[in-house]
Amino acid sequence: MKFLPLVWKNIWRRKFRTTFTLLSIFIAFVLFGILMTIRYSFSFGVEIAGADRLVLIHKISLIMPLPVSYQARLQQVPGVQLASHQTWFGGIYQDPSNFFANIAVVPEPFLKIYPEFVLPPDQLKGWLDDRQGAIIGRDLATRFGWKIGDRIPLTAPIWLPKGGGTTWEFNIRGIYDGGDMVDKTQMFFRYDYLDENRIQGEGQVGWYVVKISDPSKAVELAHSFDEMFANSSAETKTTTEKGFVEGFAKQIGDIGSIMIAISSTVLFMFGLVAASTMAQSVRERTSELAVLKTLGFSDTSILGLVLTESLFIAFTGGLLGLGLAWLFVQGGDPTRGMLPIFVLPARDVAIGVGLMAVMGLVAGVMPAIAAMRLKITDALRRA
């Protein structure tokens, strides 16, 4: 510890060079943080998908409707806690670029199946009392500045209202909240409002979400549901919510590996910059290191000095970079709604810190070993 001032002096012997090395590493980790955030948002929250929830869709495709009568039949299956349906509305607020998900649900079972959506009890009551009521996520409320009591018109691309035209109106009755990983960009409204007021498609729903008592029975139950509806006019395909979300993410293509490939390129590139400057700065100091050895510094303490220096640079630049990335992510999704879950997962922060250590060690180890092996006489003569 007492040699820290020496390390400190060495780090700043060439201020210009150290500053720029720090900046390179800083930028590398800002990028790392942002890329990992994007990667995560394209996994659509698969890590928090409930293991005790099954998703039941039409066998041909998610866009094909299912009859609302399946609700009662699903509810009777032993092992089912609660079954409820959802219907994609696809409503557009003013312009298609304002896209957000809006889904028709049955309020009470919906909130029981998704306890991660937190809605104050008085707002739930308000929603239950108002057929045209809807609840919106905190992020969606912020995005358009909507408040409880606002009346929102949405243009319906699929379901035309009986009253004519293409516009449906909703009253905001609640704003739901939830943890970091919860998608707070959605709007949920009442299925009865949709079903009573649409011209066609009465009694049809989009898909079912079933909460089961024992997650280990998931596969069995999924099979029994699909068998129950086999050979009917609407056959089904049931998967766990996790499987469903993963399948959805796979449809997009492999964004995750593209992001990881870019991050690796970036980190490799900047790691190289750091390593080459470290090596150079040690090379310049050959004679000084020889003097230290003459004074009685052991080989290991020389190794320690050089490694401390490179680790210091890697961690300072890296932590500042990851910190800035974190701050940036707190600011929310910059694409306005295309990346609904925009968080830097804790796991990736940990990986980042690990990478800093690796970068510091790799950059420092070659010059450190060279310094350790230095023969005093050679080194002094070379200078």
Binding site: F16, R17, F20, T21, L23, S24, I27, A28, V30, L31, I34, L35, I38, K59, I60, S61, L62, I63, M64, G90, I92, P96, S97, F99, T155, A156, P157, I158, L160, T166, N231, S233, E235, K237, E246, G247, K250, Q251, I252, G253, D254, I262, T265, V266, F268, M269, F270, L272, V273, S276, T277, Q280, P334, T335, M338
Partner: protein
């Protein structure tokens, strides 16, 4: 003139000594090359996707959807609507029948070859007899056209390459239906190559759609008859439809995804560029520092500061040029023509496309590389030009 000669002399000296400083120059080159690879390859995704979408559709055809529908997928037209629309002026009529085709779209789940365990949303288009004569870009590449009235289908070339069970002779099983693939078609690289085509009436029966369709594609008499066609339909109280030129429709379908890819691409490349500039600054700074004595000597001999400055900048830009060329070449070799598919959120269906490393992208990449070299060389160049001669001569 003398100034230019001096600059060239110093520059030649600098460049000839690059190999001697290989490791340090290498860092700058690799840094810049890395940025250019990422920049060009990410934007080539957007370019490829956009090309596939914009290459679809012609300004000479108009697409009719139900008013409010944002894509064919969400639209709906009754058989009666279709009959009314076909009476509209502005449609080309060869002989008597209007050259207009009512079509139907559904999505079926088929796995991609690369992810055989996960279903993907593959669009199926039910077509009418007029659909094919109207699309002059259509051609069969393998097998034959399906027979109307049967459960035969033809698959787009991209669909056949991306999804399982879409080769000639295969059978597609979806729900209780079995469709035999009898041919593979092409439409000049358009997005319809990701579709499966079948007789619209067969599809109506299979999906219990009755006599309904989702869109109507009309061949305009001429490009200018669009207004007459649109005005007639929008002013007809029997109808509730929206009309767009086909190419404009497809262009609007590609907006969201293209913008997302571009935002991500520019953002990442911008940040990486800053990092690469730092790398270049370090390299050039080192280059100047190790040659402080030579530079001072030159200046003592009477070379003016301007030529020293320009020569350092030029050296840095040469590094940028090398890095940019390597990066552009690598991106081209690795990604140009790379076939993939993704889900277009606007239509909720898969679109297959190939990455396109266009000449414009390569030029942008190279320009960016030169810019990084220029900015990276600026501070070291100023430093070299300002170096006090006596101090520098004494250094080392």
């Amino acid at each position: 003139m003398q100034w230019i000669a001096q600059t060239l002399a110093v520059l030649a000296l600098n460049i000839r000594t690059i190999p001697a400083r290989l490791s340090s120059s290498g860092v700058a080159i690799i840094g810049i090359a890395g940025v250019v690879v990422v920049f060009v390859s990410v934007l080539s995704i957007a370019a490829g996707f956009q090309a596939a979408m914009q290459g679809s559709g012609s300004p000479d055809r108009a697409l009719v959807l139900r008013s409010g529908a944002d894509s064919e997928m969400t639209s709906g037209l009754s058989g009666a609507d279709v009959d009314v629309i076909k009476q509209a002026p502005g449609i080309r009529r060869d002989g008597k029948a209007a050259l207009a085709a009512a079509e139907l779209m559904v999505i079926i789940d088929l796995p991609k070859m690369v992810t055989p365990d996960a279903p993907a949303n593959v669009p199926v288009r039910g077509i009418s007899a007029e659909s094919i004569p109207m699309r002059t870009e259509f051609s069969m590449v393998e097998g034959r056209m399906f027979e109307f009235g049967t459960n035969e289908v033809i698959a787009g070339r991209a669909a056949s390459g991306q999804f399982v069970n879409l080769k000639v002779g295969d059978t597609v099983v979806t729900g209780q239906n079995r469709w035999n693939v009898v041919g593979i078609f092409e439409v000049d690289g358009g997005v319809a190559e990701t579709e499966i085509w079948i007789d619209a009436r067969v599809l109506q029966g299979a999906y219990r759609r009755g006599n309904t369709y989702q869109s109507l594609l009309a061949q305009l008499d001429s490009r200018d008859s669009y207004d007459a066609f649109r005005d007639y339909l929008t002013s007809n109280p029997q109808l509730n439809v929206s009309i767009r030129r086909e190419n404009e429709y497809y262009a609007s379908q590609s907006q969201a995804l293209t913008r997302l890819i571009r935002t991500v691409g520019y953002g990442i490349a911008g940040l990486m560029g800053i990092g690469a500039v730092f790398g270049a600054i370090l390299t050039m700074y080192t280059a100047v520092a190790t040659r402080a004595r030579e530079i001072a000597t030159l200046r003592a001999l009477g070379f003016n500061t301007g030529s020293v400055l320009v020569s350092v900048l030029a050296e840095s830009m040469v590094l940028g040029l090398i890095g940019g060329s390597i990066g552009g070449a690598a991106a081209y070799l690795a990604f140009n023509g790379y076939q993939t598919s993704t889900m277009n959120f606007q239509t909720f269906s898969q679109v297959a496309f190939a990455f396109r490393v266009t000449p414009e992208l390569l030029i942008m990449g190279l320009t960016y590389a030169l810019l990084m070299g220029l900015i990276g060389g600026l501070f070291p160049a100023i430093r070299a030009a300002r170096l006090p001669i006596p101090v520098a001569l004494r250094e080392l």
